[in-house]
Every structure is written in structure tokens, then in C-alpha cells.
């Protein structure tokens, strides 16, 4: 036990003892050096085991002999586990993590997780030097790595991913948590979660916490409408029961400028997903891009549509289809915008503070209302989907889909016909076979926009193709040889004349009445014929 004196070599010898009688179990508490933990600076520390895993591992059925239980359930469960060889992991207290609290309530918190298999292959010993110079070695029982626990709020994984996507755009990072808090409150107050989330998402983009916005469209709208909005928006943000300093709110004014630049957004990945694309067109993608650019500029919309309708007259069907899909999108946005202003209003009322935000609200509303008005007249021609219009808060995707498909179908049909003969005008479009029930009313404007420079043919106008169901044609046939009505009908196939079978029959009957051909019975069938 005594340390031997140093010999001639400059080394000192110490005895090493491994005490046997100690009842103390030694463990290692490891901290990351980046956390800069100085244990000697601690005034007070408490440590306890984290037992939260017990209820996962422990017995789940605490009910014994009460209602809802089965007779012999426990035994059955046990035998079942044995049969399948399911071995439950025991809940060992020594393996549970530690929770270390330093310096009381206001101090730091650490969670210590046990490091596995420290004692398996090599043993660790703690060598301490005793006052008498000898070393004492104690074996290490466990190693726990302590990590500091965050007391501040953090984003969840999904939110973090979103923010990561916006990291290049958002300049003011303080607003991120601000909006998250705001959104959490909203989830508490409002019932309409969908809209909230939508609004929340868009909120983050421009960083305007107070205003619910569904699309960037609104953002542009409000930007362009007035600058007083910015101050209103700020008030709106700081309003909803937040204890944030106004300094942060002021910071947002600066950020507004940056969000101005945000207005021109790149198309994200998922943006093109819901769009209806006409697969027969060749130039789909190239056409969509510039039109999308057109869309993002607020005031260009009415003009854009007018332009579109003008160009429709000249352009081919393909382009027009894409534009229609664009219009559908706009309409969708317009539809979703109406619930948005309604939402906004509701929220503002609930917080009930400054009126300035109300003003901004109303401005937003009127702007959007204007939009609606401007948009719907030209749109009415484009879409008769009255059923799914402004009423619902859901975007009218079902109607839009069917409308789109109807368009594409019609486009397909008319294209086919184009090869054979110039497509008929509106009057004959309506009786066309491909007409869908969805749009009875809007037939006339649509084809008028839709139709290319073809003459509006009627039944009476002779056309270049000889399949028209005209008197002349019938006369020719009957002169050539006697035919039954069936044969005649076969000659005027509905596909080629563009009439429905009923119509064909009627028209044919009328023609025959006028011609008054002679009758002959051949093979028990009534044949008509004419002699000139």
C-alpha cells in the first residue's frame, strides 16, 4: 500500500488496488464537448430514471374482472405468445435512460441514454489516486451519453422539410416559429382545418401571418392593390394573441420587400400534377409554362382570358384545350378564394382588435370579387359547371375533371370529324352524339369560340362531302336503284352526317315525303325508287 520511493530511473511506482468491498457502482456520464458542460460549475443537480417506456413494455390489460374483459383472457394470451414464440423484452430499470436536471427548474436538462455493450469485450476501470499515492481501480458498470434537451419549441419533421424547401426564399427566420404558433392557435379556434392548413402553408411563404391566403395570387393581389396593406398586415400578424415583441412585427415590414420578389415563383414539383393534359396534343408542356407565367401576374388575368379567347378563334384545338385547363385552374383558385376571404374575416373578428386589418380584408375581398366577376363571364362560356361553383369551399375538382374530359372528348370527336368534313356549327353540335349532359346551357358559346372557320352549315346547305342527308342525295340514290329505308339509313350513317339516329330518321322521312318515290315490293321488303 505504501508507495515505493523512486529508484535511480526518474519513474515513480504506485500500487494499484482494486477494492472489493465497495457497494458503489460506477458509471460514466458522457457529454458532447460541443455542449461545453462544466460539471464543477453546477450548483445543484438531480437525476432520475426515465420510466416512460414502462407503459409500453408493461402489462396493458390492467382490467381484471370488470366489464369489457373476457374470461381467461390472460391465460389465452399467454398460451398464444408461447405458441408463436413471442418473447417480450423485459423492462429493466437499469437500462432506462436518465433524466438529469441541473441547477433546478430554470437550468439545463439532459437525457442520458445507455451506451450498449460497454462491458462485453473489454472492461473499463476508473483509476483514482488516493491520498496515500496508490491508485484505486473501480470497474465501470455503465456508460450513459447525455444530450441536452431543448426547452424551446421545435418544428416537427414535416414542418422542417417544408422550411428547408423555402430556405432560399425566406429571409426572416424569426417568423417561422411565429407562424407555427399562430397556426396552432388557429387549430384550436377554428373548425375548418383544411383551409387553415392551406392558409398556413401559404402564410409561411410570404411570411404574412395575419392573413389567410390560399394562393400566391392573393399575395400578388394585395401587393399590387396598396401599400397600406403592409402595415395592416403587420398589425394583423402581431394581433392574434401573441406575446411577441413588436420588434419582430416590424422586422416583417422589411421582409415584405423580399416577399415581393417572391411573387415570381418557380414551379414546384407538385404543381403540375393536377392539371389535365390533352394527350393528343404535342405542344402541351411548352404551352403550359408561359401560360403559367401569365397566371401568376395578378392583373393580367382578365386580359389573359380575353387574349386567350381571341386566340382561340385562330388557334387549333390543342392549344385551346390547354388554355381551358388553365382556366379551370384559375376558376379553382377563384373558388377557393371566396372561402379564404370569409375565413379571414372570421379570424379577424375573433381576435377583434384593430380595424385596419378589416380594411385590408375588405380590400382583399373586393379585389377577389372583382376577379370573380371579371373571370366568370368569359368563363361561363368555357364552363357551365354550375353545380360546383362558388358555393362549396372545396375546389371543384370533380366538375373540373369531367368538364375537362368532356372537352377532350369533344375535341377528339371533332378532330376525327375534321378529317372527313368541316365540323358542324353550334346548332348541329348540340344534337351531336358526343354531347355530355353536364353542359346543356353553354353549348352555344362554347362551340362558337371553339369552332374554327367553318361555315355554319344547316341541313339545307350542301357541302362538299356527299354524305350529307339532303334531298339531292336521296334522290340520287333512289334513281340509281331501289332501296329500302334501311338501306337509305345505312347510306346516311350517323357518324358521317353528324346527326343522331333519331334525327336522321326524321329528316329522311321528311325527304321521302317530299320526293314521294314510287314503291315496289321486292323480297317482301318495301323498296323506293325514282325514275327521272
Amino acid at each position: 500500500m505504501t508507495s515505493l520511493g523512486s529508484s535511480s530511473s526518474p519513474s515513480t511506482e504506485y500500487t494499484v488496488r482494486v477494492p472489493k468491498n465497495t457497494n458503489k457502482k460506477y458509471s460514466i456520464m458522457g457529454f458532447n464537448s460541443g455542449d461545453k458542460v462544466n460539471c464543477s460549475a453546477w450548483t445543484q443537480a438531480r437525476m432520475e430514471r426515465d420510466m416512460s417506456a414502462r407503459r409500453i413494455y408493461g402489462e396493458e390489460e390492467s382490467v381484471d374482472g370488470a366489464a369489457g374483459s373476457e374470461f381467461g383472457k390472460k391465460q389465452r394470451e399467454e398460451s398464444r405468445r408461447k405458441k408463436y414464440g413471442i418473447v417480450k423484452r423485459e423492462f429493466k430499470v437499469e437500462d432506462q435512460p436518465w433524466i438529469l436536471k441541473v441547477n433546478g427548474k430554470a437550468g439545463k436538462r439532459f437525457k442520458g441514454l445507455k451506451k450498449g455493450s460497454v462491458t462485453e469485450n473489454a472492461s473499463y476501470y476508473i483509476f483514482t489516486q488516493c491520498p496515500d499515492g496508490a491508485f484505486e481501480a473501480f470497474p465501470v458498470n455503465g456508460w450513459y451519453n447525455f444530450v441536452p434537451q431543448a426547452k424551446h419549441r421545435t418544428l416537427t419533421a414535416e414542418e422542417a422539410e417544408e422550411e428547408w424547401g423555402r430556405r432560399n426564399k425566406v429571409v426572416n427566420h424569426f417568423s417561422i416559429m411565429l407562424q407555427r404558433r399562430f397556426r396552432e392557435q388557429e387549430h384550436g379556434c377554428d373548425d375548418d382545418d383544411d383551409d387553415n392548413e392551406k392558409g398556413g402553408k401559404k402564410k409561411k411563404k410570404g411570411g404574412r401571418g395575419g392573413d389567410l391566403r390560399i394562393t400566391d395570387l392573393e399575395e400578388d393581389l394585395e401587393m399590387s392593390s396598396s401599400d397600406s396593406n403592409s402595415s395592416n398586415g403587420d398589425d394583423g400578424e402581431s394581433k392574434p394573441k401573441k406575446k411577441k415583441e413588436t420588434g419582430k412585427g416590424k422586422g416583417k415590414k422589411k421582409k415584405k420587400k423580399s416577399s415581393d420578389k417572391e411573387a415570381l415563383e418557380d414551379s414546384d414539383d407538385g404543381d403540375n400534377e393536377g392539371l389535365e393534359v390533352d394527350y393528343m396534343s404535342d405542344e402541351s408542356s411548352s404551352d403550359e409554362e408561359p401560360e403559367k407565367g401569365k397566371m401568376s401576374k395578378g392583373e393580367d388575368h382578365p386580359k389573359g382570358i380575353d387574349e386567350a379567347s381571341e386566340s382561340e378563334e385562330e388557334s387549333e384545338e390543342e392549344k385551346q384545350n390547354e388554355e381551358e385547363t388553365k382556366e379551370e385552374e384559375e376558376e379553382e383558385e377563384a373558388k377557393t378564394k371566396t372561402p379564404a376571404p370569409a375565413e379571414k374575416k372570421k379570424k379577424k373578428d375573433s381576435s377583434g382588435e384593430s380595424e385596419t386589418s378589416d380594411d385590408s380584408d375588405i380590400e382583399g375581398e373586393t379585389a377577389s370579387a372583382l376577379f370573380m366577376k371579371k373571370r366568370t363571364p368569359p368563363k361561363r362560356g368555357g364552363r357551365g359547371s354550375a353545380g360546383s361553383s362558388k358555393a362549396g369551399s372545396r375546389p371543384g375538382t370533380p366538375s373540373i375533371d369531367s368538364a375537362a374530359t368532356s372537352n377532350t372528348l369533344r375535341a377528339a370527336a371533332s378532330k376525327l370529324e375534321q378529317g372527313k368534313r368541316p365540323p358542324p356549327g353550334p346548332s348541329t353540335d348540340s344534337p351531336a352524339a358526343k354531347r355530355l349532359k353536364m353542359e346543356p346551357s353553354s353549348q352555344s358559346p362554347v362551340p362558337s369560340g371553339k369552332s374554327t372557320p367553318q361555315p355554319p352549315p344547316g341541313k339545307s346547305t350542301p357541302s362538299s362531302s356527299d354524305v350529307q342527308l339532303t334531298e339531292e342525295a336521296v334522290r340520287r340514290y333512289l334513281i340509281r336503284k331501289p332501296m329500302t329505308t334501311k338501306d337509305l339509313l345505312k347510306k346516311f350513317q350517323t357518324k358521317r352526317t353528324g346527326l343522331s339516329s333519331e334525327q336522321t330518321v326524321n329528316v329522311l322521312a321528311q325527304i321521302l315525303k317530299r320526293l314521294n318515290p314510287e314503291r315496289k315490293n321486292v323480297n317482301d321488303k318495301m323498296h323506293f325508287y325514282l325514275t327521272e
Binding site: M1, L4, P10, S11, T12, E13, Y14, T15, V16, R17, V18, P19, K20, N23, K24, K25, Y26, S27, I28, M29, G30, F31, N32, S33, G34, D35, V37, C39, S40, W42, Q44, A45, R46, M47, E48, R49, M51, E60, E61, V63, G65, A66, A67, G68, S69, E70, F71, N121, A122, S123, Y124, Y125, I126, F127, T128, F135, A137, F138, P139, V140
Partner: protein, 255 residues
């Protein structure tokens, strides 16, 4: 139920410093064989050409492997172990001790890490070879038997268990139908204890023939063919009066 223990910070306040030494298993094994005093060897700390050299020398009596007192002369545990010293590096390591009586106390901070390495010589190689052989042995071993085992299972005309069963059946006789009211009372008291019962279990409890019991159950209960409590009988709603605590408990069960 958490017992928060106040950590005794005296050690760390006094800036107690310790070394964390990694010791090979065989050496720690030898240390376990040490005497009551606990002396296991000597450490020499010297300076050679400016570098600190630490070496540990195992006591002679601990060099023999095998139980204390035995002399296993074949393989000796090496005696000299130089320590390789390392800095603590990217971690701040503290040592705390836990005891049943005194609670948790922070003993000190680790200032040096060391690895205890043996001097590599033939003896050590032999030791390692032995260790390897030990570790490569499979845990399970198939052994071939010379003769078939005849002691455990013998073909029997009728097993004991079966005989007992038959005897029991004979003694008890067939289950007699008791009075309907009696059976009903038994059922109700059973259902007071549990909500769902298998028909077999009910037969066991009431000792009634199955058909009779089924008839009665059809009167007062319903049969669950699907759902959580499959193929079980439960009382009809009008007959039961479980409190709303039942719902809480059901929730607890499903949670």
C-alpha cells in the same frame, strides 16, 4: 414513483480527476481473483525522452490462470502492460457512482484515457490462441448416441393422463341439468365478473350440458361472431348494467 436523487457534487467540486482505463478481459478476470486487500499490481510512471510512460505490472500471484490455488503452469498471463495514454477528446466524461445507501454522487472528471496493452510475446500468443479456441466452439453441439434412449418414453397401452381422465369422467357422471333459475343465477354471477365468455368456459363454470346452456344463453345473451371478442357470449344489453367506467377501461385496454 420516480425517485429523484439529489446528486452529491462534492467530488466534482473538489475537481477530482480520474483516469479511464480500458483493460482487457483476461486481466480484469485476474483482478477479480485478487485478495481481500485488493492489491493487484504496480504502476510505474516515468519520463522517457520527454514522453510520459505509464506501465502496469501485475503481481506474480495473479499471473496464473485458473482458480486461485491451482497451478496451471501452461499459460501465464503476461505481466507487463504498458498504458497508452490518450486525451479525452470530443467528449466530456464525468464519473458518477450509484449506491443503494448513499444515492448518486459525482465522483470526478476524466482527464486521461488509457488503454492497457500487454507486451506481445509468445506467452501472450498462446493465451490468445486459447481464447480463440474457446470462442469458436459452437454453443450447441450435436452428439451422436450409441444406443437409442429407452428410458424416457415407453409405449404404453393407455397413458396415465388418459386413465385419470376416464376415471374422472366416470365419477362425475354426465352433467345434469339443473333448474333453469339456478343456471340463470350462475350465469349472471359469472357475467358480473367478466363481460365475455367462451361457451366452453361457461360449461366449465356451470357444469351444465352444452345444449341446455346454449338455450339459456340464447335467451339472455348474444353471440359475438366477429370483432375483438370473437366467438364469445355476452349478456344482452337489457340484462347488463356495467357502469361507464367500463368504457374507460376499454379505452385503456385498446390504448
Amino acid at each position: 414513483m420516480s425517485n429523484k436523487t439529489e446528486i452529491n457534487l462534492t467530488g466534482v467540486k473538489q475537481s477530482q480527476t480520474v483516469w479511464l482505463v480500458k483493460v482487457p478481459k483476461y486481466l480484469s478476470h485476474q483482478w477479480d481473483k485478487a485478495s481481500e486487500k485488493g492489491e493487484v499490481g504496480k504502476i510505474t510512471i516515468g519520463k522517457k525522452q520527454g514522453k510520459t510512460e505509464v506501465s502496469f505490472r501485475l503481481n506474480v500471484e495473479l499471473t496464473t490462470m485458473g482458480a486461485v490455488g491451482e497451478k496451471d503452469g501452461s499459460v501465464l498471463v503476461p505481466r507487463d502492460h504498458p498504458f497508452t495514454m490518450q486525451t479525452v477528446g470530443g467528449q466530456t466524461l464525468a464519473v458518477y457512482s450509484q449506491s443503494d445507501s448513499d444515492g448518486i454522487s459525482l465522483e470526478g472528471m476524466v482527464v486521461h484515457r488509457a488503454e492497457c496493452r500487454p507486451v506481445v510475446n509468445d506467452n501472450y500468443m498462446k493465451l490468445k490462441k486459447l481464447q480463440l479456441q474457446e470462442s469458436t466452439k459452437p454453443q450447441r453441439l450435436s452428439q451422436q448416441l450409441e444406443k437409442a434412449v429407452t428410458t424416457i418414453f415407453k409405449p404404453v397401452a393407455n397413458h396415465d393422463f388418459n386413465l385419470e381422465h376416464d376415471k374422472k369422467k366416470k365419477s362425475e357422471g354426465k352433467m345434469v341439468r339443473a333448474e333453469r333459475q339456478v343456471v340463470l343465477d350462475m350465469c349472471f354471477s359469472a357475467f358480473e365478473k367478466h363481460q365475455y365468455y367462451n361457451i366452453k368456459d361457461l360449461v366449465d363454470i356451470t357444469k351444465q350440458p352444452v345444449t341446455y346452456l346454449k338455450e339459456i344463453m340464447r335467451d339472455i345473451g348474444t353471440y359475438n361472431s366477429k370483432g375483438a371478442h370473437k366467438s364469445t357470449w355476452e349478456l344482452k344489453p337489457e340484462y347488463r348494467h356495467y357502469q361507464s367506467a367500463e368504457e374507460e377501461e376499454e379505452e385503456m385496454q385498446t390504448a
